[in-house]
């Protein structure tokens, strides 16, 4: 569905996307994970055929976006980072008018809109103006809107940024249903849990480059240990204690507020720390996540 080779975007003397290669297969749920400014949204805009590349090759649905931009866009569903719904129009009107941009007829749109409203769980808000919707409802409406043309690929740029946890989970549920039904998804996110939940395969981006590629599980197994122990001794003591326990676990990262110890058995490492006479202010044993992969690859956290 998408093939990118040496894809590059340069603004003046700033290289936003620096020669990346990736491909997305039909029915796959593909993620671009990285911190703000990593080049995810720029990559996304090139894939949505709304931004010209500076160099490299890009094929979307078998076509070059520079030659067949409008045709490609007509077959995609795009959920932009910032909602661009019309707040003066009602919920169903937003869906209707967006469908009209694709030249869809009233006959097609009338049942389709009801289907989409049900999918977005907005039945009670069907006739409400968009300005009356919560942030989560607006996101669901934007996703529903992107499905009006039955897109070959649904592209979502930071779909849950700015939403509260409950709204995020509702949205994930909707996206997961689409994934289950075989819709090809491309998602950018800086939330590792989102990437883990929704993506079959992802690329980790930083400073316009791909740092790693694979499924969430394979990335974690390749770049991190199964478990992580997080211990806090207070910002003054973390570095000092870290020196004394540096022999524990597979690897250690000392962050300003906590020490992370990567290990095969987290509980055993924590027991060893306490046995050595160190009593952390707080401690947590958890399984490794993509956040740890990113930290390992870049030396920075995703929300730096």
């Amino acid at each position: 569905m998408i093939v990118a080779k040496n894809l590059t975007k340069i603004y003046g003397d700033f290289t936003a996307v620096n020669g990346i290669d990736f491909s997305v297969a039909k029915g796959e749920s593909f993620g671009l994970l990285g911190p703000n400014g990593a080049g995810k949204s720029t990559t996304m805009r090139m894939i949505t055929a709304t931004l010209q590349r500076s160099a490299g090759e890009l094929s979307i649905l078998g076509k070059d976006p520079e030659k067949a931009g409008p045709e490609i866009r007509a077959h995609l569903g795009v959920v932009p980072q910032a909602d661009n719904l019309d707040t003066e129009l009602k919920v169903f009107e937003n869906l209707y008018i967006y469908g009209r941009y694709f030249g869809l007829t009233k006959k097609y749109l009338t049942p389709k809109i009801e289907e989409l409203i049900a999918f977005a769980q907005l039945e009670e808000k069907r006739n409400a103006k968009v300005e009356q919707l919560s942030g989560g409802m607006k996101r669901r409406l934007t996703i529903a809107r992107a499905l009006v043309n039955e897109p070959e690929i649904l592209l979502l740029d930071e779909p849950t940024t700015g939403l509260d946890p409950q709204a995020r989970h509702v949205l994930w549920d909707r996206l997961f249903r689409l994934k289950e039904q075989g819709v090809t998804l491309v998602i950018t996110t800086h939330y590792m849990d989102e990437a883990e939940q929704l993506c079959d395969r992802l690329i980790v981006m930083d400073e316009g480059k791909i740092m790693a590629e694979g499924s969430p599980a394979s990335l974690i197994s390749q770049h991190s240990s199964p478990e992580v122990v997080e211990v806090r001794f207070g910002s003054n003591r973390n570095a000092e204690v870290a020196n004394q326990i540096s022999n524990l676990g597979d690897r250690m990262d000392v962050l300003p507020d906590r020490i992370l110890i990567y290990a095969q058995d987290g509980e055993a490492v924590l027991a060893q720390i306490i046995a050595a006479g160190h009593h952390p202010l707080t401690s947590l044993v958890r399984r490794s996540s993509l956040e740890d992969v990113f930290l390992r690859l870049t030396g920075r956290t995703l929300v730096d």
Binding site: E71, L89, Y101, F102, E150
Partner: protein, 278 residues
């Protein structure tokens, strides 16, 4: 969502149809949005001419007619002299409203144009859609204004009906210029208020609207000559009551406004496309 009825965009969407009629789809959005305000638009389109004609047309008009024995500028009653200029102004103002703030709304405030662009419409189609909706609004305003003028006996010949398509056309030409300007505005900063204050208002005052342009000293008469409103008014006066106008002058008036309109449309096409692909 993706159930047995899901056929996929390659079946559902006809990309050729979008490439042919995209401008109409963009216009449909603007018109639908405009209809949300139809009461306000109708009230303005009726109230504006009625109030203006009552105060200036009849009020000032009776004063002028009294001092000129009903044979004022151009040898006709003042209201008749004024009417074509007012109709041209209404066309210009109505069209302009639809190509200023809605363009900001589309590019910046709600980013609606970005949604259209992502759906497959081109910058050119979106610009044309905005223009079509502006012409629709202008048509409505001009027809109502003409009817009010007729009721106020500003015209005595049905030949003045020609003014309706002509002023709609001139309003569209002017709209193209303003749309081109609006395509460059990234932050309002009272830009459109300044445009009204320093371009439209002087144009209204120095285009022979209230008096014949020939009565102005040559030092400021050029303002009228370059003003789209003066050209629109001159053509309007010919079709409203004048018996003749040299063909070459008619061509100059139409040619000048058409030229401005084409330049505006060309710039708007380019800037819309460029701004959406940034």
């Amino acid at each position: 969502m993706k159930n047995q009825t899901w056929r996929g965009a390659s079946v559902v969407v006809d990309a050729n149809k979008v490439s042919r009629f995209g401008a109409l789809y963009a216009a449909e959005y603007r018109i639908r949005n405009m209809l949300k305000w139809w009461q306000a638009i109708l009230a303005f389109d009726i109230g504006n001419p009625v109030l203006f004609l009552t105060s200036i047309g009849i009020g000032v008009g009776s004063l002028v007619d009294k001092h000129t024995a009903g044979s004022g500028p151009d040898g006709v009653k003042y209201l008749t002299f004024l009417a074509p200029a007012l109709l041209a102004t209404a066309a210009i103002q109505s069209t302009m409203e639809e190509v200023t703030f809605p363009v900001m709304h589309g590019f910046e405030w709600r980013k609606i144009f970005h949604g259209m662009y992502a759906a497959g419409l081109t910058g050119k189609q979106i610009a044309q859609g905005v223009l079509i909706s502006a012409i629709t609004k202008g048509t409505f305003a001009v027809i109502i204004y003409w009817v009010v003028l007729w009721i106020f006996h500003a015209f005595d010949s049905l030949r003045s009906l020609w003014l309706i398509p002509i002023q709609i056309y001139f309003g569209a030409c002017f709209g193209c210029i303003i749309m081109a300007v609006a395509a460059y505005v990234k932050k309002d900063d009272n830009w459109f208020a300044m445009l009204n204050r320093f371009v439209v208002a002087p144009m209204f005052l120095f285009s022979g609207t209230f008096y014949a342009l020939s009565t102005l000293p040559l030092t400021v008469r050029w303002v009228g000559w370059i003003s789209p409103l003066w050209h629109a008014t001159e053509v309007g006066r010919y079709f409203a009551y004048r018996s003749e106008m040299p063909l070459q002058m008619l061509l100059v008036h139409f040619g000048y406004l058409t030229f401005l309109g084409l330049i505006g449309l060309f710039i708007a096409h380019r800037k819309f496309a460029q701004r959406l692909a940034q």
